[in-house]
Symmetry: D2
């Protein structure tokens, strides 16, 4: 037996741990061979591979990123190539079949986000490739699983950063607006806000008004607390619509690279309250480096289970955490049922301790 | 309304976070007063208290230990006192009632392990005190809850330590035996072993033979890997019975303070294989200091829910994590159904990646 | 004897450790009393104080920021006050003398940067106040001392962040531009670049050209390394002058809050090489939170020595690290002799390992 | 040109960083080749090598231990071999010359402690090998250099551990005795004690009496502080001679593996004061894993300078930190002038803040 694996989408702490445990399980438990495709679907399309053995996955538990490389954009059904000097978009999904067959594969494990897994589902259904999925989204917004890997690590990194920022806010009597990942859902902001004792948390699921934000800041001031920590998910939005993120002067086609919403919120707070306000945008620090112990364990279990699923021929499914077990769930569930937080017990808990969501 | 709180048993990262969120919820959500009893049941018996307000629980999320102090041994039904120069053990549970009434309490939140909570149940049933429990065991061996707080922090600390030790083992071609907490169950050893890539894990639930341990070490040597990491729970035992932990010479009544089983295993490995073997006993480092983000969130939710349970008059129950929610569970469940690991999916996952349990 | 202390300028890890050890030395060694002035010179001008005893400085070694608060702008010689609805700037240095005398002080320890210490020198010379200084600049650009406190902590934080970012850069074949503190000098960029294995370091002392920056990126690409880490001090500038940092559209008077130079450099790299380039601006995370062990030791020694200097009546001086000792150095040296790095052996070492400075 | 390198003695965080920067400097700056000898002198004697290039030293800054392996005991002048079933000790230094010549080496960089460097000096003098040394001792007890690498990392690890232990001590009103490395000198205990706010520090240079230790504990109790942290270097000794470390019962030839002195001190404290006392022995955790930023910089500079010293033909010397520079110092100084701490300004600072040394 021979099994392939690839990682697609944005990188995430724990990808290497998934690869490692899949390879070890294939080798130690089933005596199968494994190969990795490089840079996501691109390597599958171009048939670029590297062998994977127990020996060359040593030390991967600690290592962030993915040794296979990844790619955010490639899709075999809409592949962009430059042919004869012209950029064309076409369906190269047959090359995937060719690569799969030419490598004598019996199954293919695909680790990726909803886009990557939707394509995986299509390849499974239309091309008959024996695909097992492992869902990956640092944002934790997948209903099919209790936690997605990388999320615990990201929450830990943000929490550590806010622990640091808090002392500066306190020493200078400042409001600090900290922007974290979360375009569509606010799980990272919510969890790290709860963990770090933030005073206000703004998330996409709960539109805020700046009046309510400032009201909380004034309330704190009234109790003699002259500083406030505001955690903002990058997709947070005010009631009544999106904010217009300011763009740069010299070249209006070049968007602000980062820190859109944090700047907007900070300006509004400073204008309304006169309190010195600063922004911090944690950006890529949140998604790289050594995974937390929790994520290493989760990833190890996911990689193991993916290989067991190959053994049990549960193709077209993905490995998901349903505490306390890892279960096989249809790939269809990767693309639907985004997990959103407003009704969640965690939000209620946060409100109970006095945290404001700006609503 | 007025609510009391106390912490009993061994300290554990997150105790302060439970206190903090309970106090904040009482204050912000219900406008109730709270007081803390000092040093576990001792403070309840002797009516030693301190007021708890939002102001004086600031900064507690990051702080290990418990600001209320704790005590491992005191039990109001079997209280040991020195009276007239003589040590006597007697039932002083009526003093608990007196303290409860004299402080005008409407409820009492008790955070503690199975011993502490058994006593809590008795006080609830026999004395009619409105008790809410929050279970605490760093060992994670309580069936009633998915995770107990402090466990994630402990696993993180052990994992970091083994990450460090691994490079020494590798550089020197050594076997390293690392002893971690876990007298009756091996959850910390199992989880941190999986997270850190240990090669052998010995836990109380799976009796080991030294032959099987050495077999794994030889297997690794056969593949050119001249070092091995062996994680041992303090309660690990060989097939056929307990080991006789060696005692000190000068005074045989004084037990070895630490490192019983690690030494025994290391000696046996060294004797059987000739491989240089070293021991590390992590001890108290595992249970102190700043809680992980995961534990801070869990504790915050537990403290919040305990106060909501007071509001809902769910007395005689304790707050437990049933992912994704915190649920009220009868206190009776704290003392029974110890969660043991052998049949667990995590063990199967560990075995699949080639980890040996010495069996 | 009675000694005052205040902290001025931007906050910096270790301020609390200086306060703690000064208070402990005054109490344990000399049996003196100490008081702290709140919020830098503001508290001195307005005579707002708090008593400082061994008891209330407990736990401060771990705590970032300053329990006394600080202020970036206040100067008793040019104090800004609103009187009769009008903002006026005037000399209130006599109020300092009044506060000093009314508190019965024998000496005043002032912890702060070059601005704060210049004022301290003036107060010492013109008003006869017995001042001892402790220099503070997270940027480490003071010739009088081997290291300033907070610098080691900041370098550690940046290094950890770059360790994380590196795996993302590698997994995605990206250039990552990381902006760190350092308006006038590049010590943080230089040291953390060396510690984290950055490929290019841009600092104010060495003007760069984007051509040389890209040349290094191409060189790496030629060796099959498709990612690069560029560390940029916020004051880095291209040969031939300053860059024009782009400003926001809606309100051109509102400067970009952060990430000026990183954006400029990233745009230029992307435009010139076509390589996907991302920016990270570490900002306030660098200056808050728990100090490193190195900084805790340095700060403890500085606080101790400041009090010994009071005892030895070495007024008008500041405590500086001249490895291996702390020495008393005239306050005049705080304002002159900025330590710049270009000729430094560390730069030569960095170049030797192949790091480019874009020149 | 071709240069060899080996690492000898106990492992230490930063060895890989020295190797990395030496290789990079040789390659990038001088275009020389480098090879590494495996497992210290053993690899030199047996001529076991691996090539070292910029490519295969990537990622080494973060990695503890040494990729070359090391060995604590091998000495080419007194090499132990089993020949014809018999263990013999003989002089095989000529094999070193053979290996050196057969690899066409122009110089040999030896990274190691005083034993390793004494042998290096002998090889330089007697065999005419062009040796450059890099001193290594985690204990920091070398007069020739301001700091040895690994020390800052070890102090950081101990400080973090004591930060954790402190909260347990406080919650339980206990004395905690923490044993750290330092057989002959107490630098790690001294520095980490200062950094973590220990109350008592026992080091080999200052014999203690248990009376003075307990006196400090009582003093604290008198001030309402019912817990104490005692940091003990493994070589600490009472006034009037060494303690007799208790040995195990079953086999008196087998020494206690760890925790000799901590147990002795803890027993004495408990016996004298009745205060519950616990021990923690940090052991190997102190010397493995990721080096601190400070150590990575120091090691990078040492590796760079060692290669520059080859270029300048400064053989028979070693690279040492003389703040702010790395200087070439005769190898003779590695073996003499152990740096001891009692008269040091750091001790005086510690005493000034109220820390007791048990004298």
């Amino acid at each position: 037996m021979k099994v392939g694996i690839l990682t697609g989408g944005g990188d995430c702490p724990g990808l290497n741990a998934v690869i490692r445990s899949a390879v070890k399980t294939a080798e130690e438990r089933y005596h199968w061979d494994m190969i990795g495709f490089l840079n996501g679907y691109k390597g599958l399309i171009e048939n670029k591979t590297r062998p994977l053995t127990g020996d060359n996955v040593g030390g991967l538990l600690l290592r962030g990123g993915t040794i296979l490389g990844t790619s955010n954009r490639d899709n075999p059904y809409k592949y962009i190539e430059t042919i004869g000097g012209k950029k064309i978009t076409h369906d190269v999904s047959d090359r995937v079949v060719t690569a799969y067959k030419s490598n004598d594969l019996d199954a293919l494990i695909i680790v990726g986000g909803d886009g990557t897994l939707s394509t995986a589902l299509q390849l499974y259904k239309e091309k008959g490739i024996n695909i097992i999925g492992v869902p990956k989204t640092i944002d934790n917004d997948l209903s099919a699983t209790d936690y997605t890997f990388g999320f615990d690590t990201a929450v830990g990194i943000v929490t550590d950063a806010v622990d640091r920022i808090q002392t500066t806010a306190e020493s200078h009597d400042r409001a600090m607006v900290v922007e974290v990942m979360g375009r569509d859902t606010g799980w990272i902001a919510l969890y790290s806000g709860l963990a770090s004792g933030a005073h206000i948390i703004l998330i996409p699921e709960i539109p805020y008004t700046i009046e309510k934000v400032c009201q909380k800041i004034y309330e704190r001031k009234g109790k003699g607390k002259h500083f406030s920590i505001i955690l903002v998910a990058e997709g947070a939005k005010p009631e009544g619509g999106n904010v217009t993120i300011k763009r740069m002067v010299d070249d209006p086609t070049m968007g602000v690279r980062y820190g859109g919403i944090a700047n907007v919120v900070a300006d509004q707070i400073e204008a309304a309250t006169g309190i010195e306000t600063r922004t911090v945008v944690l950006g890529h620090v949140q998604r790289g480096g050594k995974p937390s112990a929790f994520d290493r364990i989760l990833c190890t279990r996911l990689g193991v289970e993916a290989v067991h699923m190959v053994h049990r021929k549960e193709f077209g499914k993905m490995a998901c955490l349903r505490t306390p077990d890892i279960k096989a769930v249809p790939l269809e569930e990767a693309a639907k049922n985004r997990k959103v937080s407003p009704a969640d017990q965690v939000i209620i808990a946060a409100r109970s301790t006095g945290i404001s969501f700006g609503d």
